[in-house]
Subunit: 694 residues, 2 copies
């Protein structure tokens, strides 16, 4: 309950979403407020510093961040970012999640089945070109289509020209478009992971809590042309670590925030979107728990998915609690009123931007009428499992590929093909029992959401109850076999037409409605939101100047802040924990799961320095997606590894605050000590300390 | 998955709901099909046999069944029926659920804080009197009101006359009304409970599964005037137990079935009621799991509630899967068509009953329009926790008591007062943290269901987010104190009016809408269902004769069947398990929770006979509420203790089948051996074996 009691103590100055205060902001690297930082901290950020940090930062396309920490392509991230790979590389007899892993030599480093990591190489503002594609007289839907087409064209041209992965990113919900070019690597190998028991010590009960005692780390190495990447930039390991009140930076990829949303848009999230999404998530969490309870092997194969659902449930609960707080809404309303008043005060502004808020409100009202169906499995975006996703992908590629590049659905354009094929042809294991559970869950949910007499449901179930139908489909499909996927991909439309695969057939049955739903969303919601938010962004730039950062979009951002404790339930929580605290917490919880120490740790108490800082908190502005980000000092050295926010930080999704919201890092001093004393990873420790070359 | 694969193997003869086949039926004791049983099994059930079994059967008003097993009022039931009491009688330092309990002497038997058990003493058909209250020209709503009034009057008269607890029970959804009179006992004491680890061995994963290895038993003693009840009837313990293919009976209190529902009514359950109820249940299961994870004490105080939610989730999942099976619906449709054709074939029948199905369909259509709001917490029936329930009870009693008895809401009539006051003034512990969690959950759910701008929500939250509001309300209320409840009860309306208690205030805020919802349900749904189902019942009696049993209503029923294994996944499952199997199952699951044996059992393997039958299955027709029912042989002796159905039996809620659906019992031989060898309960074992008097 503590997190909510504390919300009461929030200052009236909850950020209002239109200007950056305090240490607020997840800043794109071309928009970092260097003057503001210099003014407050007396630290001048140079272009070289920015480039160094940018090119030392890594994005995990599976959903997370990381950093290069050696000249030889060693990448540090979180265990919970790497765990998806660990799971795919495990077998019933060799559970890497449970036991951990360390490659003693380069030859022992294990290639990941389907991981792509990106390093941001350049940013270019392409707003003018994107908006230039919109012809006078186009309605919002036509304008949206024109923008999507030019974005695909820009990406394709850039990819052809540079060879880099090229994404046009929508910022400020449509206020700015930037071309992000990345070096993309698909040969990534596992180097080191500790046991989940210490990486995620405290499990779900302690997740998003603080004080904390987690060694949530995992190391990979990027390979290029079969050899370790010779990194132009990487973060040196700080010799002395960080200290209370020090200025620090976080460079990473926050996934999504909704701070710039209008009041009516937030109400849509609060009353429509989040309740529906959460109720499907509660459901899936219980289903996965029961699936895992059936056998130790089930527990192993569904561990990552279960963690993902639990983590997301806890995060969304926090956001929804924020949205359900009338005091938060009052502040959002006040900020919006001020901006609208300022717009209304100028006839020119009013004519250009005055209708933006109503336009967005109307779009959300429309969206609410078909949101549920659009989120149902099959006919909408709800999941029917991994193999069904493969079936739909193959069906769509065959249909989209003959089209001109700019006319395709965005995920099937040329610029995205490498990543798409890596996923499609992934050799990662497919577990039929888990696929049956996922598909059954999806079919049940679809049946519940639409009613069993809905024609789409009747067709999907084929006269059987959902679980039996799922068994029939998964036992009947051949898409678990990579060769069969390749055959269907290579055979193009003719192969798809000829296919009798039951999952392909199911995807065909849903395709028309699914595309219609998407078109409706693009034309009636997304295009209108883009139009409205572009206006609001312009109004804000005009009225408040450039002190505005865009909402998070899983692109590289820089945050800054200080190491700082906070008040909770009337107690001062110090910024650092240490190894001694770990053992104490385990004892308090009778060393019972999920507070049970792995054997290596249980026996190592005397070998460790009890005072070594373990985890710490800072005021840096982060959100989900920042997992694995480096915490960096002014010298550009790494001092910590972001792995969580405290429970008070969940509200950062919709509004910034720095009184009690905190980012949580693993201290690099704990990492080094664990590598040397617990895991005997001397070579790797030498490498990150710069004591070992090549 | 096995359960669903097996549904495929179901014979075409799935019961059609209008006539009892095979060993189908949960029979009221005044309607037992003795001729049918004699014809099939050659066993003539005498009136004396029926009376003996009836008066040896016990209902736990907390929701379960049991039986008298000694002349001195010893009652046997399931651990999971008694566990609510065990939880209330536990303290942080003395967890009876975990450790078990045995009263070595009568003096050690511990009084339960708020348990009432009933023994059915008489049944009287009062259909004519109830229907006689309906005057010509009354519409369905007025007829419904008239029936409720006369039911309250009959109950009150009977209570005054006999002193017995008197309930008018609606059978056949309105086709028959019976007056059930019970001896009611509120002085019930705990005698013996094993550890939950053996009572619920296998936990949620094995719940509703078979083969099974659970000692799901618990013993209480009824006291009368401070002394052990001298029971007129009790079940003798069978010397030899039961055997494969033997005819057995189950006497207990099945809670609810929906076998007589019309097709449109079942569709309402499938598409409206169950999906909504289940999604609230998934949610609560996760919330309770996270609450329990926060500390060992949280785990203790919420254990029973968590089990209840899990158990109900698994049961409802099975029922919903049945409802989502088109093949089941086809059979229901066929049966309904046959009956409707038979009615349509007779002008007289058609005029009397022909519109019944459409009438019910219209009622469900109406209900669907307000079902969600009616099931929201606060304004509807959704829960806001135990203390809120107390507040609403006090508010309602004060408002209802001044009314003439027949005009009151049914739960506040004179005949129900003893039970009501026992609950209201229960000294069972109240845990503020758990109450906060329940209330917060309810307020959140209400906010999600109605939207945060709904006036009822705005009023309920008072400007705070749900959890913070829940903390404020629970910290502010005094209703945890029994003396305060008594003060408000004794002070009547004046005390309620003067009360500043925040939970009383909240109940007041919701009262008008809550009553309006209920009235709307009674007038527009319940009254119409009763009218429609009364017609269908009459049509069935006319066309099929008396071979029809009513749906379950948590009143005493007799089922019968034989001890019999079944086929599952192509394997023959034998009817009996034994102690050897218990140890084997524990080893297979690495002795890990919930397959971890309690210390007493882990060390006792060599003391036990490995071949002692432990659990067994029979074809007896049971459902939730039958938990704790005795399984009885022809001699009227107890041979088993019902504690579960297999997963294939969940569909019994809507349709009978006996190919694979099975009732699961603890074998009395295992009970006796455990009492003597594991628990050293010699006095109790002597008592149930009839070796000890007084």
């Amino acid at each position: 309950m503590s997190q909510l009691r504390l919300l009461l103590a929030l200052p009236v100055l909850l950020a209002l979403g239109f200007s950056a205060r305090a240490d607020e902001g997840m800043w794109p690297f071309d928009l970092v407020p260097t003057a503001q930082i210099q003014k407050k901290y007396g630290f001048a950020i140079s272009d070289a510093w920015l480039e160094h940090v940018q090119k030392s930062s890594v994005r995990f396309n599976s959903g997370g961040s990381g950093s290069l920490v050696s000249a030889n392509g060693l990448v540090m991230t979180n265990h919970h970012v790497g765990s998806g790979m660990l799971e795919k590389m495990s077998t019933p007899g060799n559970n890497l999640i449970e036991k951990g892993f360390y490659a003693k030599t380069r030859a022992d480093e294990v290639p990941c089945p389907d991981l792509e990591v990106n390093i941001l190489w350049s940013i270019e503002d392409v707003t003018a070109r994107v908006n230039g594609a919109v012809q006078p007289g186009m309605d919002d839907a036509a304008a949206g289509k024109a923008r999507r087409e030019i974005m695909s064209t820009i990406e394709s041209e850039s990819k052809d020209k540079t060879g880099l992965r090229s994404d046009v990113v929508t910022l400020y919900q449509g206020g700015r478009y930037s071309l992000y070019c990345y070096k993309a690597y698909q040969d990534v190998r596992l180097v080191m992971a500790p046991e989940k028991g210490i990486a995620f010590f405290g499990g779900d009960p302690d997740n998003f809590e603080y004080p904390r005692f987690d060694l949530d780390m995992c190391f990979f190495r990027i390979y290029e042309n079969g050899k370790p990447l010779q990194a132009e930039h990487f973060l040196a390991w700080s010799k002395n670590g960080t200290t209370d009140n020090e200025l620090v930076f976080v460079s990473g990829h926050p996934g999504r925030t909704e701070r710039l949303f209008t009041v009516e848009h937030l109400k849509f999230l609060r009353d429509v979107a989040y309740p529906l999404q959460m109720r499907n998530q509660w459901r899936r969490e219980v289903q996965l728990a029961t699936f895992r309870g059936r056998s130790p092997e089930n527990a192993r194969i569904a561990e990552g998915e279960y963690f993902g659902v639990q983590n997301s449930r806890k995060a969304r609960t926090g956001i929804l609690e924020g949205l359900q707080d009338e005091r938060m809404f009052a502040k959002k309303q006040e900020a919006e009123r001020k901006l609208r008043d300022a717009v209304a005060a100028s006839p020119e502004y009013k004519a250009q931007w005055g209708d933006a808020w109503d336009e967005i409100a109307a779009a959300e009202k429309t969206y609410a009428t078909f949101f549920e169906r659009m989120n149902a499995p099959g006919v909408g975006n709800g999941s029917l499992g991994g193999l069904y996703g493969t079936a739909r992908g193959l069906l769509r590629i065959a249909a989209e590929d003959p089209k001109e590049n700019s006319q395709r659905l965005r995920e099937y354009t040329n610029a995205r093909r490498d990543s798409l094929l890596q996923q499609l042809f992934s050799p990662a294991p497919v577990y039929p029992e888990l696929e049956i559970d996922r598909l059954a869950s999806g079919l049940q949910l679809m049946t519940e959401m639409l009613g069993a007499d809905d024609p789409a449901v009747v067709q999907a179930l084929g006269g059987l109850p959902p679980r039996l139908r799922a068994e029939q489909l998964i036992h009947g499909t051949k898409l678990g076999d990579v060769a069969e996927r390749k055959r269907l991909y290579d055979g193009k439309q003719a192969a798809i037409d000829a296919s009798k695969d039951p999952l392909i057939a199911l995807a065909k049955a849903f395709d028309a409605e699914n595309r219609a739903q998407r078109k409706r969303f693009e034309d009636e919601v997304d295009s209108k939101e883009r139009a409205g938010y572009a206006k609001i962004a312009q109004a804000q730039f005009a009225i408040y100047g450039n002190s505005l950062y865009p909402d998070a979009t899983f692109t590289l951002r820089l945050s800054y802040g200080t190491i700082k404790g906070y008040q909770q339930d009337g107690q001062q929580i110090p910024p650092f924990t240490n190894f001694a605290g770990l053992y104490q917490r385990s004892e308090e919880r009778h060393n019972q799961y999920p507070f049970e120490l792995p054997p290596r740790w249980a026996g190592a108490r005397d070998m460790l320095n009890p005072n070594t800082p373990f985890n710490f908190v800072s005021t840096c502005d982060i959100i989900g997606g920042n997992s694995g980000s480096p915490t960096i000092n002014k010298a550009g050295e790494v001092v910590g590894l972001i792995f969580d926010g405290n429970i008070q930080s969940l509200v950062l999704d919709i509004a910034y605050e720095d009184e009690v919201a905190r980012a949580v890092s693993v201290d690099t001093r704990a990492i080094l000590e664990a590598l040397r004393k617990i895991y005997d990873c001397q070579a790797m420790a030498d490498e990150i300390e710069g004591k070992r070359k090549g």
